[in-house]
Amino acid sequence: MSLFSLMWANLFRKRTRTTLTLLSVMVAFLLFMLLQSIADAFAVGPQIAGNDRIVVGAKYSQIDNLPYSQKQQIMAVEGVEAITHTTWFGGMYQDGKSFFAQFPVMPLEYFEVYSELMLEPADALQRFARERGSAVIDIGLVDRFGWQVGDVVPLISQIYSKKEDGSRTFEFEIVGTYSDNGRSSSFPVMLFHYERFRESVAFGGDSVSQWTVRVSEPDRADEIAQEIDALFENSSDPTRTTTEDESNREFARQLGDMGFITTMIMSAVFFTIVLLTGNTMTQALRERIPELAVLKTLGFTDMTVSLLVLGEAVLLCLVGGAIGVGMAFLLGPGLSVSLEEVLGSFEIAPQAALTGVGLSLVIGLVIGALPAITAKRLAIVDALRRQ
C-alpha cells in the first residue's frame, strides 16, 4: 500500500469528522475566492497589459470641465499618438435606480485609442461615425437592460438641456455593442456622437471632462504626462495627468479600502479554520498513537510516520481548498449577475485560484506541523503501552 493510500484510508477512519472538517475548509475557501475576486475588481480595475494610455483631467476638481481647445496643444506634444475625449453627460434612464454613465465621443478617435475594444455587428463603427443620433453600448449594459441593436433609449440629462426647447430628454438609437474580447468593462458606459452633443445642447457643448491619450512609448508616459501638465500649468484650466492604470486605482481607492475589509474577514475565517482543522488533526493523532507505534515497529522510519501525519493534514486542506475554489467557479456566473450592478463586471479571478490553492497548502503544513513532530518523537515502547 502506498503512503498516499494509507493517508487517504486514515482520513476516512472517522467519516463524519473528516467530512465535516472538509466541508468547513471548503466553505472557507469558497468565501476566500469570492472576497478576493471582489477585492480584485475594486483594486485593479480592468487590467490592461502594456498600457500605453494616459489620462488628462482637471487639476483641482473632477467635476471641472476642460475646454475643447486643449486638443491641438496636447496633440502637438511629442510622443502623443492619438487622442480622444469624454464628457460626463449625467443621463438617467427611467427612474434612475440603475445608474450607468454616458459619454459623447468622436467615434473613430475613441475606438482608435481604445483599440482593444471590438464592435458588433460589423457595420457598427461605420454607422456610429455616420449617424449622429446613434450610440454604442458596452455589452454589460445589454445584460443589464436587455437592449438590442435598433432600440431607441431615452435619457434625461441631469446637466445638459436641449438648445431648441430646453428639454433635458435626449434619445439615442443603439447601433452596436462593444466588448474587450467578449468581456464587459468594470464600468460599462454608453457612447454617443460628440457632434450630436455639441449641436444640440444649450450650453457647455465644448466641454470635455477628460482627455485620453495614447503614447508611442509607454516608458515615456510619465515624462509626457508632465509635459502636458506643464502646458496648461498657468492657463485658466490646469490639468492633472496620470497613467490610465493609476487613474483606475485612484478611483477604486476612493470607494473605500476593500483590501482592508477583505483582509479582516479572511483573517477571522482562516484563524477559525486553522483552529478547527488543527483540533481535528490532534484528535485523529491521539486516537492513532498505538497504531503509529505499530507502524514504527514494522520498520517505518520516524520520518515516514511523521510525513504520513503531515501529509494527512495537507491532503485534508488541499482537497477542501480545491473543492471550495471549484465551487466558486461554479457559483461565479450566478453571482456575477447580482454583483454586476455594483461592480460593473464581476468574475471569479483565475489568479485567486492559485493563491487559494497555495494558501490551503500552507494552512495544511501549519496544521500538520505539530502532530507531525509529535508523531516523529513517539517512542515505540511508550506509545504501545498507551492502549
Partner: protein, 387 residues
C-alpha cells in the same frame, strides 16, 4: 424530568474544561461569524446614521427637477430672491456644491472633498454647525472653515493652513462639528468665492430652505413645479439624504449578511464536529446515565444546552471584540450621488449585538441538535461496552 436535565447539564458543563480544545472550536468559530457580521453591519449602520442625521423634515433643498445631486442646477440671484419671498419659506440660502481634489492623509493621491459655497443664512438654517476651533469665515474674504471629519481625513486642512483651489488661495480659519452628520466631511466657503473660483457667475446650484413647517414642503414643491419660470423641485433633507444612503447602506448590509451566511455554514460544520466528538467521547458516560434510568430527553437537552452555551460565549466574544475594536472607527467612502468622500463612524449598536447573539444561538442550536439526537439513540448495551 427537570431535575434530570439540570443534573446532566451541570455535569456536562463542569467537565467542559477537559474538552477545552475542541470546545473552543465552537466558541471561536461562532465568534468569528458574529464578529464579521456585526462588523460589516455596523459599517452600514454608521453610514446610514451619518447621512440620516443630516436630514430634518422641516428643512428642504430646492434643486433642479429630477436631479439627485446638489451638484446640478443653476439658480440666478433673481430666482433666489423670488423664492425667498414665498410664504412657505422661513429662511433660504443659495448654495453651490463643488468638489475639490485634495490628497488624503496616508496616501499621495487626491480624493474628492465637497466644497460648499454658502450664504450667511446657511448657518441659521443649520444650527448644528458649530465652530470648535478658530472662527467663521468672513464674507468676502478668501477664508474657509472645514468640517472635523474632512480635517482628519485630508492633508493641509488645519486651522491657519492655506488651501489652493484653482487661482485662489483660501485660508482655513476654523473647524466645525455638525452633530456627526455628513456636513462634517465638507469644506464651507463664502458663496461668492466659490462662484468666482469655479466660474459660476452669480448662480447657485441649489437653495437650502428652512420651511415654516414640515407640511410646507409639499405646497412649495407644487408651487415651484407649476411655475413656468422654474425647472425646480423641492425635496426635504430627510428624503434627500435617506435616498443617498439607501443604495450604499443596502449594499454593505447585503454583503455583510451574505458573508455572514457563508461563514455561518462553515461554523455549523465546525460546531457539529465538536459536538459529535463531545458525544462520542462520552458514549460510556451517557449510556451509564441511561442505564441508571435517565430518559433520553434530558440527554438531548443537555447536549443542546452545552452547544448553545458555547455558541453564546462565542457570540459575546465576537460581538464584544468588534465593539471594542470598531465602534466609533472612522472610515470613508465615495458618495455616488456627489462623487465626494463621506466620512462615517462604525456604529456597533445594541440592536446589532442582539442580532449577533441571536445568530450565535441559532447556530449553536443547529450544531447541537444532530449530535444530541445521536446521543439519545445510542443503544445502551453496545455503548456501555465502549465501542
Amino acid at each position: 424530568m427537570f431535575a434530570q436535565i439540570r443534573e446532566i447539564t451541570l455535569m456536562n458543563l463542569q467537565n467542559l474544561s477537559s474538552r477545552l480544545g475542541s470546545s473552543s472550536v465552537i466558541v471561536v468559530g461562532i465568534g468569528g461569524v458574529v464578529a464579521v457580521l456585526v462588523g460589516l453591519l455596523s459599517m452600514a449602520t454608521g453610514f446610514s446614521a451619518a447621512l440620516n442625521s443630516t436630514g430634518k423634515a422641516d428643512r428642504a433643498l430646492i434643486m433642479r427637477e429630477g436631479s439627485t445631486s446638489e451638484m446640478n442646477g443653476a439658480m440666478s440671484a433673481g430666482q433666489r430672491a423670488t423664492i425667498r419671498a414665498m410664504e412657505e419659506v422661513a429662511t433660504a440660502s443659495g448654495e453651490t456644491y463643488v468638489v475639490a481634489a485634495i490628497e488624503k492623509i496616508g496616501t499621495d493621491v487626491p480624493a474628492n472633498v465637497v466644497v460648499r459655497g454658502v450664504e450667511p443664512p446657511s448657518f441659521d438654517i443649520r444650527p448644528e454647525v458649530k465652530i470648535i476651533e478658530g472662527r467663521r469665515f468672513e464674507p468676502g474674504r478668501a477664508e474657509i472653515i472645514v468640517g472635523v471629519k474632512a480635517a482628519s481625513q485630508f492633508k493641509g486642512l488645519g486651522v491657519g493652513e492655506t488651501l489652493k483651489v484653482r487661482d485662489q488661495s483660501w485660508q482655513v480659519v476654523g473647524h466645525f462639528v455638525a452633530g456627526g452628520s455628513v456636513t462634517e466631511s465638507e469644506i464651507w466657503a463664502d458663496l461668492a468665492n466659490v462662484q468666482s473660483a469655479f466660474r459660476r457667475g452669480g448662480t447657485s446650484n441649489t437653495m437650502r430652505v428652512q420651511l415654516v413647517s414640515p407640511e410646507a414642503a409639499l405646497k412649495l414643491n407644487k408651487r415651484l413645479r407649476e411655475d413656468p419660470r422654474f425647472d425646480l423641485m423641492v425635496r426635504t433633507e430627510r428624503e434627500h439624504y435617506a435616498e443617498q444612503s439607501r443604495d450604499r447602506a443596502t449594499l454593505i448590509n447585503d454583503f455583510g449578511v451574505a458573508v455572514g451566511i457563508i461563514m455561518a455554514i462553515g461554523a455549523v460544520f465546525a460546531a457539529l464536529n465538536t459536538m459529535y466528538s463531545a458525544v462520542s467521547s462520552r458514549t460510556v458516560e451517557i449510556a451509564t446515565l441511561r442505564a441508571l434510568g435517565f430518559s433520553s430527553l434530558p440527554v438531548v437537552v443537555s447536549v443542546m444546552i452545552e452547544a448553545m452555551a458555547l455558541a453564546l460565549l462565542g457570540g459575546l466574544l465576537g460581538g464584544g471584540l468588534v465593539w471594542l475594536a470598531f465602534d466609533g472607527y472612522t472610515a470613508s467612502t465615495l458618495n455616488n450621488a456627489s462623487f465626494s468622500q463621506v466620512a462615517f463612524d462604525f456604529a456597533v449598536t445594541g440592536d446589532l449585538l442582539q442580532m449577533g447573539l441571536t445568530w450565535a444561538l441559532a447556530l449553536g442550536l443547529i450544531g447541537g441538535l444532530f449530535p444530541a439526537l445521536r446521543a439519545a439513540r445510542l443503544p445502551i448495551t453496545t455503548a456501555l461496552r465502549g465501542e
